[in-house]
Symmetry: C2
Subunit: 407 residues, 2 copies
DNA sequence: CTTTAGAAAATCAAGTTGATTTAGTTACTT
DNA sequence: AAGTAACTAAATCAACTTGATTTTCTAAAG
C-alpha cells in the first residue's frame, strides 16, 4: 500500500526548544509592528497573546539591538501613557539585486524598505560568467556609496527570471536567460561578495516586497502575478512563502490558455506568456529588434493610443483573465496582485479591462479586498523584493524557526 | 502606498511558550514514527534533533497515554538493544463521514487508519435538512457497532464536494449539491452528535488520507487530484494542508481547458470537469438517467471495451494532462496523486494514457518520485481521508500548534 | 568456553533558559 | 483624590540540555 520510492529514512521534522521559541517570539513582535505600525508593549502583548512581561523583555532586547525605537509617548488616554515602538529603519540594511535580459539593478534598502542607493547597468542576455562579476561589482559599489556598516548588513537578495533547472525550459526561448540552468548562483555570489545571498525568481521576490512594504502587508495568502519578459507568479500562502519542491512554484508562463494557439519555444502551443508578457507585446508589435526593446516603449504607445498596441491589449486581456481564474481556483487567495516590468500605466490599463472577471471561488460578496490589486512598487518591484528577501528571512515568523538545526 | 482596505488592526501571529513547544515536540515524535515506522528513542532523538532525555520523557508520556507501544527489543547489534516504539492503533479512533450525490458513507478507523466499521446509505442529492439527521444516525450506529470508547474518540471528519460558499457555483449544475451554500455543516453536526467535526472538501480529505497512510506518506508537497462527480484538488504544501482563504483552494473543476468548448452550468465554456469527471463520462455515454448512474458502470464498460467509453477516455486524457500541467506549474509539487470516486481500473487506464505528459517544471531527470501516482485508498478514499482529518489535526506538527490560543 | 573490551541505549540528577505569575510602581485622566 | 492603564521587578515554573552513569548487548581475545 505504501509508496516504496523512498526507502532512505526520511528526515523527520525536527523538534523545538526554548531558544527556538524565543527566536520565534522576537520575530512575532517585529511582524506585529510591521503590520500594524507603531505599537506599545501592552498592545503587542494583547496581539500576540504573550504576557506583558515577556514582551517587555523582548522589546528591551530589540531596542538594545537597534531594531526597534520608541516613538513619542501617547498621552490623552486614561492610565499611564503608552510608549509606542516602531521599527528602526537603521536597524539593518539589505542589498537587492536584479538581473534580467537587458538590465542589472542593485539597491540598498534599510529595514523600512526605503532605498538608500541604487545602481543600474545595461546587459545583453548575460551568461553567468558575464553577470557574476558585474553583480559583485554592483554590490561593492553600493556598499561604498552608502558607507554601509557591514555589521548591519543582513544579506543580499537576488531576483532573476525562472524557472530554475528545468531541462528544455530554463534556457530555451526568448523569455529565458540562456546558460543559467543548474548554475549555482547563490553560492557563487556568496563566494565573490562574502555576503549571504538568497536567490528567488522575480515574481517570488516581488511578492515578498509587496508583503513587507506594499499592498499585501496585511494579507496571509495572496498571489503576485509578475508580468516581465515572461510571466510568473509568486505565492504567499498561509503566512509563508511557498516556493515548491524545486523552487519553481508559480511558473505559470507556460500553462496552456489557448490549446493549439501560438507556438511556444517550450514545444507547447498557446502558452500564457505568448499572450501576456513584454515579449508577447513586442512580438505583436512586429518590432524590428524585439530582443532589445524597452518597456518604456509600451508606455509611450499606450499614451499615444497606438492601434497595434491597443490590439495587443485587447488580445492579452482574456488570457490574463484566465491566468487569474486559474490562480484563484487553484489557490483561493485573498487577492491577486498585478505587477512586474510592464510599465505601471500598462498594468493599470490591463487591470482596468479585466472586468468582468471569470466566475471563480473568489467570486463572493463577502470580500474585504478586491480580487485584483495593482502592486505598489512599480517597475523596481523585483529589486525591491530582492532586497526584502533577507529582511523577510531574518524577521518573519516561520515554521522553520521553531525547528532545531539538525546535525 | 499601503493598502487601506483593512483598517481594523490585523490580529498578529501569536507567540509561543514552553507548553506549545512541548505539544509541538509530541507531535514531532508521532510524525517521525508514522513516517518511518517503529523507532527507538535514540533514533527519534537523532531524527528530531532533540536530546535523548527529552525523547525519553515524551515517549514515556505517549506510552502512558496509550498512543505509543513498545515493539520487540531489537537485538543483534552492538550496545544495549533498542526498544522500538510504534503507534498504538488502539490509541484513538476517528469517525469519517462522506456525503455525495448518491451515497453517504461512514467509517470508524483506529490510529493506524484501519477501518473498524463501515456503514453505507443511499441518498439522492440530499439537502442539508435531509442529510444532517442521516449523518448523525450513521455516526451513532458506528459508535454502537464498535462499542467505541468515547473517551478515545478524537473527533469526526466529514468530506463533501466543494466549492463552499461561492455564489453561482456551489449550488449550480449537476456536479454540485444543491442547498448547501452557507450551511454551517460542522456546527450542525457537532450539535447533533456532540463530537468535534472537521469538514473539508473530498479532495482535501483524500489528500490527508494519502499523506497519513498512503502513497504520500513521506511527501512534503503534493497534490491530490480527485476525480469524483466533479473534479477538485487537495493541496498539501510544505508539510501543511493548504485550504485557501475560503476553504476553496484546489477547486480547479472550473478552470477553462478548452476556451469556447462545452458549456458549463457555471456560465463558462470548456471547464475541466466537463471533460474529466464521472459526470462528464456519464454525459458522454448519453445515459438515460445520468443523475443516478453509478461509477461501477464505468468499470464494466472499461472491462468490456465499450467503444463510447473508450472515446470518452481518449477525449479526457488531454484535459487531464492539462490539469496536471497547471498544477505542476502553479505548485511545483513532488508528485500528483490521482484518485477519487472514479473506479481504480478507470483511474489506472487514464494514468496509463497520460504519457507523454506536458513539459513542465516537473520535467526533470532528478526525480525521486514519479510525476503521477495513483492513490492507494481506492474509492473509499474520501471517507478514509475524512477519518484521517481529526487524527491529522491532533497529531501532525503544525505551525498553529506553536501559537498560543489568543483571547 | 570464558572473559573482557567496546558500543549503543537508556536513565539520573543537576543546570539552564525563558515564559508566567504576582505584587507592586508610575504617570497619566477625570 | 480616585481610577486606570502601562510598565517593572522578583519569584516561580515548565521543559529542554548536559554530562555522568548504568544497562545490556556484541565481538574479540585469551
Amino acid at each position: 500500500m505504501a509508496g516504496n520510492y523512498l526507502m532512505i529514512p526520511k528526515k523527520a521534522i525536527s523538534g523545538t526548544n526554548l531558544e527556538q521559541a524565543k527566536s520565534h517570539n522576537r520575530r512575532v513582535v517585529i511582524e506585529a509592528i510591521r503590520i500594524n505600525g507603531a505599537l506599545s508593549r501592552a498592545a503587542i502583548a494583547r496581539l500576540t497573546a504573550l504576557s506583558s512581561q515577556t514582551i517587555s523583555n523582548i522589546v528591551e532586547e530589540l531596542e538594545a539591538a537597534g531594531l526597534l525605537r520608541p516613538e513619542a509617548t501617547l498621552k490623552g488616554a486614561r492610565g499611564q501613557p503608552a510608549v509606542p515602538y516602531s521599527i528602526n529603519p537603521d536597524g539593518g540594511y539589505s542589498i537587492g539585486l536584479q538581473l534580467d535580459h537587458q538590465l542589472a539593478v542593485g539597491v540598498v534598502t534599510d529595514l523600512s524598505g526605503t532605498v538608500r542607493a541604487r545602481v543600474e547597468r545595461d546587459v545583453d542576455r548575460p551568461t553567468p560568467t558575464q553577470a557574476m562579476p558585474l553583480l559583485a561589482a554592483i554590490s561593492s559599489d553600493l556598499i561604498a556609496t552608502c558607507r554601509l556598516d557591514r555589521t548591519r548588513l543582513l544579506g543580499a537578495g537576488m531576483a532573476m527570471p525562472g524557472p530554475f533547472g528545468v531541462e528544455g525550459m530554463t534556457s530555451v526561448g526568448p523569455t529565458a536567460l540562456p546558460g543559467w540552468q543548474d548554475f549555482p548562483v547563490a553560492e557563487e555570489l556568496e563566494r565573490l561578495t562574502g555576503i549571504a545571498v538568497i536567490v528567488e525568481n522575480d515574481a517570488t521576490a516581488a511578492a515578498v516586497g509587496e508583503r513587507l512594504y506594499g499592498v499585501a502587508r496585511k494579507l496571509d495568502s495572496f498571489v503576485y502575478l509578475f508580468i516581465g519578459t515572461g510571466l510568473g507568479a509568486g505565492l504567499f500562502l498561509d503566512g509563508h512563502l511557498y516556493k515548491g519542491r524545486r523552487h519553481n512554484a508559480g511558473e505559470i508562463g507556460h500553462i496552456i490558455v489557448k490549446p493549439g494557439g501560438l507556438p511556444c519555444d517550450c514545444g507547447k502551443r498557446g502558452c500564457l506568456e505568448r499572450y501576456v508578457s513584454l515579449r508577447a507585446a513586442y512580438d505583436r508589435l512586429d518590432l524590428p529588434d524585439p530582443d532589445h526593446a524597452s518597456p518604456d516603449l509600451l508606455e509611450e504607445l499606450l499614451a499615444s493610443g497606438d492601434s497595434r498596441f491597443e490590439a495587443w491589449l485587447a488580445e492579452a486581456v482574456e488570457p490574463l483573465r484566465q491566468a487569474i481564474d486559474v490562480l484563484e481556483m487553484a489557490l483561493d487567495p485573498e487577492t491577486v496582485v498585478l505587477g512586474g516590468f510592464m510599465p505601471l500605466p500598462v498594468i493599470e490599463a490591463l487591470a482596468g479591462r479585466l472586468e468582468p472577471l471569470h466566475l471563480s471561488v473568489s467570486s463572493t460578496s463577502a470580500r474585504t479586498t478586491p480580487r485584483v490589486l495593482v502592486g505598489a512598487a512599480g517597475k523596481d518591484t523585483s529589486v525591491l523584493g530582492a532586497a526584502a528577501l533577507p529582511i523577510f528571512s531574518e524577521t518573519n515568523p516561520q515554521f522553520d524557526v521553531l525547528q532545531k538545526p539538525v546535525g
